[in-house]
Every structure is written in structure tokens, then in C-alpha cells.
């Protein structure tokens, strides 16, 4: 009986270590000097220096800001569009099965396949080496994904709610904004956070479309690897700083995703 409960726990602990060890090691490395970073010792020396250097020298602080602007901007730009598209798919079956598939199919295209044409187009209109350009690109890239997620959420909103609003005197448009949107708020928040994370972690487009002053975190981190050899401690500090907002965001997502979608509209 005891063995039965202990055995699964041992397996779970092993798995947890397997998953958690690399990020924990990054955290550890970010607090030791570069010179001893590769030693297997747990904490040979402690220092804040990596973080101080990261934000005072080089372009990392700038990259941090760029990442925020590009990711948040892309979300703000893309979400209303995705909401309306997703709603049209969910409620009116706009375009039927095919249009849904096409939306999904764009996600199957490897990003490398479209990066060069995008670069060419952006250069023509002067959007390369600009955070605004990156923001627009991210909004477009995330649109299908966000549409797909929100479609699922809207399908979960009982149509009777809209009907009730309509007989109560609302137009279709008012029913959407006053009833469907507030009711789907948890879903929309979740989609926003997911979209933000996708943009935040994106590397390829950022690498091609930005320059030194417009780089985002992933690009800036990559930069630390090439200039003076691999500055592993500083990179670790950068990785930790890069992950931090995501950790906060994922808690936020969880809180919203577990909440019932319609919380009491329908018995």
C-alpha cells in the first residue's frame, strides 16, 4: 500500500527534476561570475554583476523595451481583428470549413518560407529596422492562431445569450460588444497573453527585420554569444530576465483559463 503511493511519487519527482533542472541551472549560472560558470559546483561564488552589466552596458535594456513594445503592440493590434474573425467563424460559419482550414494551414508554413518576401516588402515601404515594422509583422503572424483560439471561446458562448440581447433591443453589433465580449473576457485575456508570449519569444523575424537599436531580447541574447565568445553568465542573466514576464503571464493565464467560461449564464 505504501509502496503504491511512494513509487509514483518517485517517478514524478524524477520527471520534475528532468524538466526543472536546466532552467534552475540557468538561474544559478546567472548569479556566478563568468570565470567559474562552467564548474559543476552549486554556487562557487555569488554576484549580481551579470545583471548589472547586462542592463548598463550594451543594448540589452533597449532590447527589453523593444520586445515589450513589439509584443504588446502586436497584441493590441491583432486581438480585435482576431476577435471579430473568430466570432464570424464561430457564429456565422463564414466561409465554411474551408476558410477555417486555410486559417490553420497558414500556421503549417515554416516561418523561413515567408521571411524573405516579408523582408522585401518591408524594405520597399521602409519598415525594416523598425520596432513598428516588427509589431505589424507579429500582429499578422499571430492573427490565425489568435483567431483559432478565440473561435473556440466564442463557440462556447451560448447563442441564447445573444438572442436574449437581441429581443431585449440590441442590434447584432451591440449584442457582440455588450454581451459576447464581456462574457468571453477570460478567453480574450488568455488569447492576449498567449499572443504576447509568442511575439516575445519570436526569433527569426526579429533577427531579419531589426538592426542593432531595434533588436528584441532573443536577438540581443544571440548577440552576446558571438561578439566576445560565449558570455554564458551574462546570457543566463538575460535568459532569466527574458523568462520573468512569461512566468508572471502564465500565472495570469491559468487563473483565467480555469475559470468557467460562462459562469452561470446557463444552468
Amino acid at each position: 500500500m505504501r509502496l503504491k503511493t511512494i513509487a509514483p511519487h518517485i517517478i514524478l519527482v524524477l520527471f520534475a527534476c528532468y524538466i526543472a533542472l536546466p532552467p534552475l541551472w540557468v538561474l544559478r549560472t546567472s548569479f556566478v561570475p563568468d570565470s567559474v560558470a562552467y564548474q559543476p559546483a552549486l554556487m562557487p561564488e555569488f554576484t549580481w554583476q551579470n545583471y548589472v552589466k547586462l542592463f548598463t552596458e550594451g543594448t540589452f535594456a533597449r532590447a527589453y523595451l523593444n520586445s515589450f513594445i513589439a509584443s504588446a503592440g502586436a497584441t493590441i493590434l491583432g486581438l480585435p481583428l482576431a476577435a471579430m474573425t473568430g466570432y464570424a467563424f464561430a457564429r456565422y460559419r463564414t466561409g465554411g470549413q474551408i476558410s477555417r482550414f486555410v486559417v490553420l494551414a497558414t500556421q503549417m508554413l515554416p516561418p523561413v518560407a515567408i521571411i524573405l518576401p516579408v523582408f522585401a516588402l518591408f524594405r520597399m515601404v521602409g519598415l525594416t529596422n523598425s520596432v513598428t515594422g516588427l509589431m505589424i509583422a507579429y500582429a499578422a503572424i499571430n492573427l490565425p492562431f489568435l483567431t483559432w483560439i478565440l473561435m473556440g471561446f466564442f463557440e462556447g458562448v451560448p447563442i441564447e445569450l445573444e438572442w436574449a440581447a437581441q429581443v431585449d433591443g440590441a442590434t447584432v453589433w451591440e449584442a457582440f460588444w455588450k454581451i459576447v465580449m464581456p462574457v468571453s473576457l477570460p478567453g480574450i485575456a488568455a488569447a492576449a497573453v498567449l499572443g504576447f508570449i509568442l511575439a516575445w519569444n519570436e526569433f527569426l523575424f526579429a533577427l531579419i527585420l531589426t538592426g542593432p537599436t531595434t533588436a528584441t531580447i532573443p536577438v540581443a541574447l544571440a548577440g552576446l554569444q558571438s561578439s566576445n565568445g560565449v558570455q554564458i553568465a551574462e546570457i543566463s542573466a538575460g535568459v532569466v530576465m527574458g523568462i520573468l514576464p512569461m512566468l508572471l503571464a502564465s500565472r495570469f493565464i491559468q487563473r483565467y483559463l480555469v475559470r468557467g467560461l460562462t459562469f452561470g449564464a446557463v444552468k
Partner: protein, 371 residues
Amino acid sequence: MADIELRNVSKRYTGRVAAVEDVNLHIRDGEFMIFLGPSGCGKSTTLRMIAGLENISSGELFIGGKRMNDVAPRDRNIAVVFQSYALYPHMTVAENLAFGLKMHKRPQSEIEERVKRVSAMLGIGQFLERKPAALSGGQRQRVALGRALVRDPAAFLLDEPLSNLDAQLRADMRLELVKLHRQLGSTIIHVTHDQVEAMTMGERICIMKDGRVVQVGAPLDVYRNPANTFVAGFLASPPMNLIEARLTGEGDGLWVEAGAMRLQVPAAYREAYRAYVDKPVIFGIRAEDIHAHQAQPDWQALDADVVALETLGAEVVLVMGISGIARADIAARLGRDYRAQIGSRQQLYADLAEMQLFDPQTTNAIPRPQP
């Protein structure tokens, strides 16, 4: 206040057979109309077409004499209570009640006044600041009703509003709805599955099947004169017993014969039924017309093989077979003290004063004089 008229109204969803087919129905101003029918027969679809939530594929709809086919739901001045209640989950009860009035741009003072009046009327005054999630089923049902009432609409469409409630609450709400109708005098269409609701609440019942209206009439009329075997077998519980039989004639008399059962048709119906002599018919008799004792001389003996006894307290429903008849689910409602051995043969007495005969081909009732 408005009457509602459907003329040849049909609904066809793409790629399906018609969900509602050629419905003609006139609901009078101030009438309490019941829609009754099995699941999927098109009750909700009809309701939604009246409310404007679903396009009418063909036919015409008039509310208060005006053609409404192309009028938006919000301009029809109709309130709907959905089976699921469909309360706005992100709004408080007060906001739920006020939403329709706000949409119609009523002044704030009037909104407050009406919300207060309706919530007092329905006894939901103490919940005004709560969200629907924090209400019980019965309370939600009242809020849904309140949301319809505040707007003072021309007609109410109620789609099985009581079906989510427990038996006690349902009985209470049944009475309250009837009372409300008497107070307001508005036109009400009430959709239900429930036999008791159908019999007790409405002024008329409209019975539907497969998207068509089968019979419309006052509850007792429909009960006593079902138009066909479907209505006979659907309305009431237990439903009318329907037995495949033959009509035989001997001299002046007429008999219904099935297996070991041989019952004489009352003299009053002989003329009406004579054309069916020596033909197969479907014999219909209500469970309450089969008795344990012969209280009237013209009640006729019947040998029943007891299959089951359902002791309901107020009565005993005897389920029986008759030798030579295939079906063994013929029901009789007997006094509460009736007892019999399962499997035994008992003598019962049939009162044929309210009998019906149906044509097996068309399933329609064969017309006969009223008892």
C-alpha cells in the same frame, strides 16, 4: 397587446428536411397558448421565427396585424424566456433586468421604477445586486421572467421555462404564471413537454409533430377528442390505450373485437361507426375508463392479465395484457386500494362512453357524436 398569426410558415435549414412545415395558426390577443410536442418537432424553431431570431423560409408572420417577416427582433416588441434562461452572466440581476430598457433608451428614473416594481412582484428584490451565478435555479428562472416582464412587451414567448425546476417549484411557478397572465392579459405562447402544464395552464393547446401542427384546441377538447392516434397516445400520462381491433356487426349491435376482448359500442355511436363494420380499426380507451367494479350496468367485463401494478398513492395504475392481443401495456387507473397478484387474471369493467375509433390507414379519429 397583440395577436400573432402564422400563415403557411415553414423553416428549412440548409441540407435538411423542413424543421417546421406549413404552420397555420392564429393566437388571439391576450390568449395563453401552449405548444406541446415531442422533442425535435419544431416548437423552439417556431418560437424563434416568431421572435425574429430565425429567418422564415416561406410563409408570413403577422403580429398585431403587421407583417413581421423582415422586422428585426428588437422591433417586434416581444419578450422571450429561454429554456436555459440565458441571463447575462457578467451583469447583476438589476443590470439584467435593466438591459432591455437601456437598449430602448428609457430614462433612468423609469428604468429604476420598473426594475423595482417587477423585482417586487417576482420576489427577487433582495437579489438585485447578485450575479446570476450566485442564484438558485428557481431564482434564475424568476430573473429570466422578470427580464421579460419589465419591458411590458406585446407578447411573451416562453420556451420550456419550467423544465429545469424541481417538481414543487414547477407546481408553484405554474400557478404563478397563470396568475400573471390573468393580471397582465398579455398574449403568451408557452412551450412545454409537460402534460400537466399543457392541460392546466393554457386556454388552447397546439400539438405539433414533425414540424407540423396536428391539432389545436382547448385542453379538454383535445383530451376528449384527439384528432388522431398521435395526439391520443401523446397527451396525458398514461396515454390513451390504443388497441388494434375489428369492428363487427350483429343485428343492430356493434362490437369492438380484439383477442379475447369483445366490447359493445354504445348505441349513440352506432351510426357513426357503421361504415367500418368488418374492417380493422384502432380502438382507443382512456385508462380512467377501465374500472375495477361494475358501477354502471353498461360497463362491460374484460379479462385482464396483470403485468404490473404502479402504486402512486392517490391511485393504482394497473398495467395489463389481454389474451390474444400483442401489446401488454394496456393501462387502467384504479382506486388507491386496488390490489392484485402479478400474473393473475382479473375481471375489469370498461366504460365505452368516451371511446374513440381511429382509421388504421390515416390514423385519424373516426368522427362520432359527442357523448
